[in-house]
Structure formats: structure tokens, C-alpha cells
Symmetry: C2
Amino acid sequence: MAYKILRVNMSDLSHKWEDLPAEYETLAGRALTSTIVSKEVDPMCHPLREFNKIVISPGLLAGTSAPSSGRLSVGGKSPLTGGIKEANAGGITAGKLGCLGIRGVIIEGMPPAGTSDWYSIIIQKDKCEIKKTNEYANMGLYDLITKIWQDYPSKPGIIGCGIAGQRLSPNAGVFGNNVENTDPGRYAGRGGLGGVLGSKRVISVITDDTGGEPPQPKDKEKFEEGRKMFTKALTAHPVTGKLKDDDGNPYGGLSNYGTNVLMNILNEAGGLPTKNFRSGRFENAAKISGEAVHELVDKTKEKFGDAAEGRYGHACHPGCVMMCSNVVPYENTGKHQVGPLEYESAWALGTNLTIGDLHDVAELNRICNDVGLDTIEAGGTLGVLMEAGLIAFGDGKGAIAALKEIYNDNSALGRLCASGATNAGKVLGVSRIPSVKGQSLPAYDPRPIRGIGVTYATTPMGADHTAGYTIAAEILGIKGEVTDPRILEKADLSRTFQATTAFIDATGYCLFIAFCVLDDDNGMAGMAQTINAFLGKEIDIGAYGMAILKAELDFNRRAGFTEKDDRLPEFFLKEPLPPHDVTFDVADDEVDKVYKGV
Amino acid sequence: MAYKILRVNMSDLSHKWEDLPAEYETLAGRALTSTIVSKEVDPMCHPLREFNKIVISPGLLAGTSAPSSGRLSVGGKSPLTGGIKEANAGGITAGKLGCLGIRGVIIEGMPPAGTSDWYSIIIQKDKCEIKKTNEYANMGLYDLITKIWQDYPSKPGIIGCGIAGQRLSPNAGVFGNNVENTDPGRYAGRGGLGGVLGSKRVISVITDDTGGEPPQPKDKEKFEEGRKMFTKALTAHPVTGKLKDDDGNPYGGLSNYGTNVLMNILNEAGGLPTKNFRSGRFENAAKISGEAVHELVDKTKEKFGDAAEGRYGHACHPGCVMMCSNVVPYENTGKHQVGPLEYESAWALGTNLTIGDLHDVAELNRICNDVGLDTIEAGGTLGVLMEAGLIAFGDGKGAIAALKEIYNDNSALGRLCASGATNAGKVLGVSRIPSVKGQSLPAYDPRPIRGIGVTYATTPMGADHTAGYTIAAEILGIKGEVTDPRILEKADLSRTFQATTAFIDATGYCLFIAFCVLDDDNGMAGMAQTINAFLGKEIDIGAYGMAILKAELDFNRRAGFTEKDDRLPEFFLKEPLPPHDVTFDVADDEVDKVYKGV
């Protein structure tokens, strides 16, 4: 199969098909987006002007039968951090691009200043059309997906930007659609790449794979063997499997409770950041946990039967065996309120704001999905608005009202809500802004859990748990052993996780496979075998991951980043976090050790 | 005379008097603030938390009989730029501190989080009181100065922060009062140091010099000789003198037209940034020029006689011979609208916004003065709000209404207006933000006038014309000769101006003396003699200035700044400016040459 790169130039609305260069042969997902961004984008360019680019790439195995391998990477220079960005998501576009033999889509240039038209890029087998679609502008994303699926009855993959991105707001994410419904719930959310799409006047990229076929592994037999070994390990693992005990009670972590199984675990550990990182415990954590959603879904199913729309244990893309996704139903009707409600979102829009009402949290998430915002950053932003006294902590209805201001084009409050925690915090004179490189911290306090703090500080992405999820070792344990979260030597742990993650982000595999592959040698072996068999060569996972990180670090350094940007905000170093009453005590030298010499 | 430093600790509301250390003996003004900030403040600290400090220092000669020597420096880590900041102003506090023998006031620490009290620091002869003054909070500054002068009938010097600073807004300046009226018109405006005062819960620093006496020069005779030579040169120079021609018509530039004499000159030169830096010419420039104010003042004087409050040619501090200050009167009453209306303010709030109505511009300036904002940054901020479509370009009434929102504590629009152009622009997704290091560009477009562009890019202060005013050479000419503003080799020119400026900012002399001392050898000799005679030693002006710059550069580098921060925004490099249709073409290497190896 000859893989292609589709290059779209929005300056003159042209496109061309390029053969995948030989040196990119093994690159896909984050490996491809970061390599191209680092090579083609001037690190000093303004992220919202013509010299930035958006690079979209399906993971290496997207479209194949490998389990849970349908992730899509989106890259560019981030308007939020000013550095390189890769954000990835599930959904259905990656598989379809894979089946069309498209390894990457590069969107470059920008229509002339003053252009008021909006465009969509329609990708079909060996065909690309850049279409004026002003009718898609200024719509909520639930409606937009519904409309596009009416316009294209083949139910194509859709990614794009919402109202926030069309206004170039710094916290605009790139949304993606689901396989089964018109939820805009699949977000390559972090870092504001939705605004980069908006700056190029692109509302959506629509991928229809009719006539395509799955990418073919170089060594089909070995691939199939690896795939089976890996699938078996995934489905047998207590976190990633859909398991029941002898009494028929489900206990598979992700499939039953989703990622939000973490809410009670982190609360118990005292590392759940509460009230803009003032405490490690939230009294109402259980009310907005994965267990609470599970219970609500069961209750509404019982009450409303087939009419009930709540669910847990469903897949965000075809071929996922872990099925962590969910839909939160309204209690009184059983109808769909929002899907999914992830741990990070429930934390950001709930715990972080001390909002303990599940439906208020779900409503905030629904608005984020509809206007096109990253939920973590949106929660961080509302947190600094609360810090500044514009909304009261715990006031769910107030937070909903503020977020709804985004629908009003001229609302300064709406713009602030869509601007990210760092930008909003600076405007408001807030000095408790939990962010690194301009990006909000996610749902693990770095004071009691130092390894994740080192990841937040050093990843080229800005604060990001998915960039090197040491929580797996520090809280959840690997092979039954927990790495003490309190020890101060975390550079090696973080670097190893960051490199492995960069590799996984290239493969198309969902990061959650890590729960299995770190625990189970057969899982790791099966996973590696699928990649090697697909490429027909042996990949060194660590070296592959480090090469991605090197390209990213190089970009950031050329953009002016130094070790001084690898620092947590002052208050983490000075204010002890209850209940453990610890500060972030990792020495700067230890933090800098992560990428010293890289 | 034994000079003192007053150190105020706001954490425990204590103070102590320290002897001026021997190594600081020759340091004052910017030399002292930058040395102390660089030495005592952790460059990585959050500017709005307890580890930042405010350092206040009168210039070396403040309080003496040297002409135009009453400038006051205020320093700290800037919330706007994240780097070191020195902002200076006229007014009456510097002279009074000088007469009390106080070379510096250091305000450090911060009351405990949650403190709702506000304080003022009352300085008298050998006495300091930190007084709870909650009654001064949340007042307009016209009223605040009136009230403080009622409370302290000796009419003390006052500096402090207004509503904007009390809310920690990034564009909050440090205001100062005048000798003759209750205008809050003397601003150490740039860089947001008003917010640092606010973070320390200090509303005002009140200086009463009753019982003090002027600082004594080491060599009185030589000082007196130098003072006379310098005064003579200043008063005879066509820019700095208050001159009349043979027919009795005034022609002294500053005394007749104020700094706003520049409006028509820059318009003529095609370097007057118009409509957020879209053109170098503004069709309504003349209407808001110094000449227009002069004419209005004369007209209202004729009409209202002694009741007329408009004026030009008055001094911002006792002993100034240049007298560039003015008061803009209302046309229909002759009463005071705002004073002064400087060139930079008329440009920022007029030309930059294409507002050509003098009274709208004056009203915007009045609001800035009342709430405590730097006018240049406020104009830049309104410019990006217009860029984003929240206000229409040219809509004076709309801009006034937006700025007035600052009086409303809960207004997101008000907060945006007080946040600075870079912060507001980021929130709004604007990619035409004319700023360097987070600080707005002033009133000279760097495309046709390259030297000032090199100063904007490289000064440790963030974009600032006063940091190295090459305009004197490039537009106004020195000794009758103009340095071509278009040539690309400007590193040496800018560095020389920056070093000389740093020296002048230490002396207490107003920067406008440069018009005379660069032109007239006697002026230079007289000025130098006052300094040398005061200190009793020979000062090398260039070396003295470079030492200040070194301390500032060192601070910024330890805060994470690199050469990548010494860059103009992308659009200056890409978009030609009419009427000359040039871009900023100075090579990065030339820009970096300014401080290479320093």
C-alpha cells in the first residue's frame, strides 16, 4: 500500500497529494505530526497566522483489526502554550483515514485577511474538495454533526472546531464525532488547536472512507498472532477488561466506571485537587464519581427500559475492547445529557470548582462539547474566575451561566471563559493559576504525587497527565507494586513514561492499553508484535519515543523555551496541600535531569 | 548627609531604617531600583505574591536646585512582562524623599492571604507609619488625592494605586500627584507595578517632608556652576526652552505644545501608528495634536478669563524649567478636563484607535488617570478589543463606555480593559498585538523608524520608547543632523541611547533634557558637572548606564528570557506600513548585537 499525505493550502484553496516520504515510513500519529510541525513550522511564527500548520495523522494501526487502535493525532504550534502541540482522540476519523491510505493531512496557509467565508475539507477515496460551508458556522456542535450527517448520509468521520475555535479562543479544541451518535464528545482538546483551524477558516474535515480498505500489515501472520495475544491480555486485565466475578457482578474498571473510576481512588489517596488546588480531598467526590454514573445508568435503565439513553462500557471507536466511554442520562427522563463524562472532565468541572452535583457537572461538560472547548482547561479557567470572585466556588448554576455566555459573540465574560486558565488568570490578577507553559494542570495534585509533577513540568506539551502518566506506577501500581509517590527522585520515571507514551501516541493505540501492557508481559509482547509485524521491522520502543520527544523539544527550544519554563507555579512549592500537608519538593536539578542532554 | 533606606515589610506591618550601603552610594533612581530588585527579588517569583518587592527611589539630584531633576523611579518584577521593571514619573514625591534623606523605600512581603484591609505608608522626617486606610479603597484617584490632602493639610507627595491596582490588574500603574492640583496625572505607569502595590495591600505612600532639607552636593561651588550652565542651555534650546521670537510669539516646543508637539511631526514622517499599526498617517492627527490643545487653551482663556483652567507650559515638579505639562479644558466651560494630555496618551487613546475627537481622547485619558491605568497600554488594549470587534474603530463613545466598565468590580469587560494589550489580545484570539515582552508598543512605528524598533525589541523593559529614544536622532535630529531612520544597522545607536537613558533615569533628571544635552555641548557639560559635583567623583556616563542595564539583563535571563524574547511581533516583519510601504527589516543578528556579550 502506498501511503499518501494530503496537503491543503488555505491561502489559495488548493490541495495536492504527496507520496509518504521514505524517511516518514514508520511515522504516524504523534510521531508524524511532531516531525512535520518541527520541520515545517517556524517555531517563532504566530500560532494564529498563516505560517502555522495543522497536521492530522491517524495512528499507525488505525483502520486495522488491532484492538483499541483508532486514535487520531492533531498537531501544530499551540496558541495556548506557544510551543509544539499534539493532542489525540478516539472517534471514527482515524480509522477512515487509515482505510483511505492517508497517513497525514497538512493544512497550511490562511485565506487573505478579511475573508468572511468558512470552509470544510471533504476527503474521499483519492479525492479532496475544499468547500465553502458558511452554513456550518456559528452552530452548536451537536447540531453541526447532525447536519453534516444529513448532508453526507454515509455518516463520515468529522473533526473540526466549534464556536470557540471560529472565534480563535485559546482554549478551542478539535472535536471529533462518535460511531453511534451525534455527540461531539471526542476531543483532541488540549492546547487550542481548534483556534488554529479557525484561523485557517476551516470548520470541519469530513472523511468518508467509502471504497477504502484496511491498511495491510507487512507480515500478516505475525500481526494476527500478536493481535490475538494482545487482545487476550487486554480483555483479561482487571482495568482494561470487561470482566465479571463468579457471581456475575462486573468489576472491569474502565468498562464499568469509565476513566472516572479514578475519582474515588484519587480522593482516597489525598491527591485529588480540590477548589483550585487547595486540598487533596473533596467531600462530594463520590457524588460525581464513575460509580455514581454507573448507578445512575442502572437506575434509569430499570426505570425507563429501552428508552433509557444512559450507558457505560461502550467504545469510542470501532475495535476498542476496553470500552471506557459512557453517557450520563438525566435522572427524570433517562435521556442523554452528556457523553462521555471522563474523570478529567468530572474533576475539572466538578471537584476543582467544588461543584458536587453530577448534573451540573454534566451540563458544564455538555456546553464545553457544544461550543468546542477542552474540558480540563475550561475547568481551570472557571477555577480562576472563581478565584477572582466573578463566580462563587461551588456555584454550579453560576458556572453554567458564565459558560453559556460563550454563545454570545460580544460577551467579554464568554471570551474569558474560553481563554484558558493562564490567560484568564493573568487578566484577573490571579496568582494561583495551576498551569505549566500556559496549559492547565489536570486531575492529580503534584504535591503528594511527585512523579506526575515532574511530567507536568517537563513535557513539551505544557501540563499534561497523558504525556507521561506516572500515576500508573505511583497510585495504581504496576505488577502489584506501587512506586512511592512521595520520593523526590522522579526524573527517570517521568522520562521513561514520557518516551513510552510518545511511542504509544504514534501507534494509534489508546494510552489506556498501558494499564495492561505494563502489568502483563504477554500484553506488552503482543502489542509490540503487532507494530513490528505491521511495519515489517523491529522497533525499539524507547528510542522511537525519544526521537519524537527530541523533535518536540527542539521545536520548543527554537521557540524560546528554556528550563525556566519547566517549573510548576510558585504556590505548589510554598503552600502545603491537605490532608498530607506536603509541598512539591522535587529539586530543580532533578526536574532538569529529565531532558538534560536530550 | 547620611542617606537612608526605608524597608517596609507588609507581612507583619513592620519597618526599619537602614543606612545606605557604601556600595550603593552613587546609586539612585533606576540605578538603585534595578540593583536592589536584581539582587533581592527571585526572578522566578510570581510578581503578585509575597516574594516580589516594590522599590521606590528618587533620582540622585531630586530635592536639589538642579533644573528638571525631580523624577521618581519605581521598580519591581513586572506582572505585565514577567521581567524587571523600572517606571519613572515627575510629580512631587521624589523631591520630598530627597529632602528627607531617603534614597530608597523597599516594600516587601504581603499580608496573609484573605486579608481584606488596605494600608497606606506615611513617611515623615525620621518617621514611618503603616496605617490601616480602608477608607481610601475603591475610590477614583481624583477623589483620593483630594481626600488625602484633606487628611494631611501639608499637601504631601502621594504615590499609589487606583481601582485597577487594587484589583491586581496587569495594566495598573503607580500614580503620583502634582504640585498645584489634585490631578492623578504623574504616572510611573508602565509594567503594572500598581498591581504589585495592590498585592501588598498598599494603596498609597504619603511623603511629608516637613523639617527636611535639600540634599547637599559634595562640591557646592562646582555644582552651582554646573547648574547654571545647564539651566542656561536648557532654557535657550528651541525644544526645552520657553522661548519667544522677536514678535513675541512663543516657539519653545515643549512649553507651548507639550510632548504632543510630536503628533504632527510623526504624522508628517509617516511613522505615526494608526488603527492598531495599520498605517503611518492619521487623517485627524492635527485635531488631537499639541497645537490643537494650545489653541483650545488660548481660546478658552480668551472666553472665560481667570475662570479658564486650561493651560500649557507648566511644570510637573518644582524646579522644572522645560514645563511641558498641560491641562485640556472643556470647550464650553473652560474647566479642567484632563491634565496632562501627553503625546503618547493622545496617540494611544486617539490615533491608535482612529478617534479624532480631542475631548473623547481627553475623557479616555481622564478615566485612565482616575482608575489608575497606564495610558499607552490602555490604548493598546482598546486597540485589540477593536481588532476583535468588541468596539468599532473610531468609536470614541464606545471606547469610553468600555473603559468605564472598570468602575464595575464584576465586569469582565472592565477587567479586560485593564489587562493590557497582550493579555486581552490572547483572550480574544487577536494576532495583531503590537507588543514586546508583553508590553504595548508606544507611538512610533518601528517599520519606517528602525532604531526605535531595535530599542523596543531589546530593552529589558518590554516595548518602551523612553528606554532608548533613538527618535531624537532619527526624526528630530541632533546638532541639525538626522540619522536615516531606514538604515538597518541600528544596534550601536540603540545601545548607546539605552545606556545614556539608564544613566539619566538614575539622576532624577527628566529624559527630555536629552533634547538639549545631545544638541548643545554646554548643556552636556553642565549636566555632567552637576552629577560629578554632587557625588564628589567623576562618573563615566556610558559605564554607569551599562551597569544598570547589566543588572536588568541579568534579572531577565534568570527569569528565563532569551534572545527569542527580543523580537517584534510577526506582522511588523510581514505587513508593509503605508505610506512608505516598508516592513521591519532589521536582521535578528543586528538586533541581538545590542546586548551580545553584555
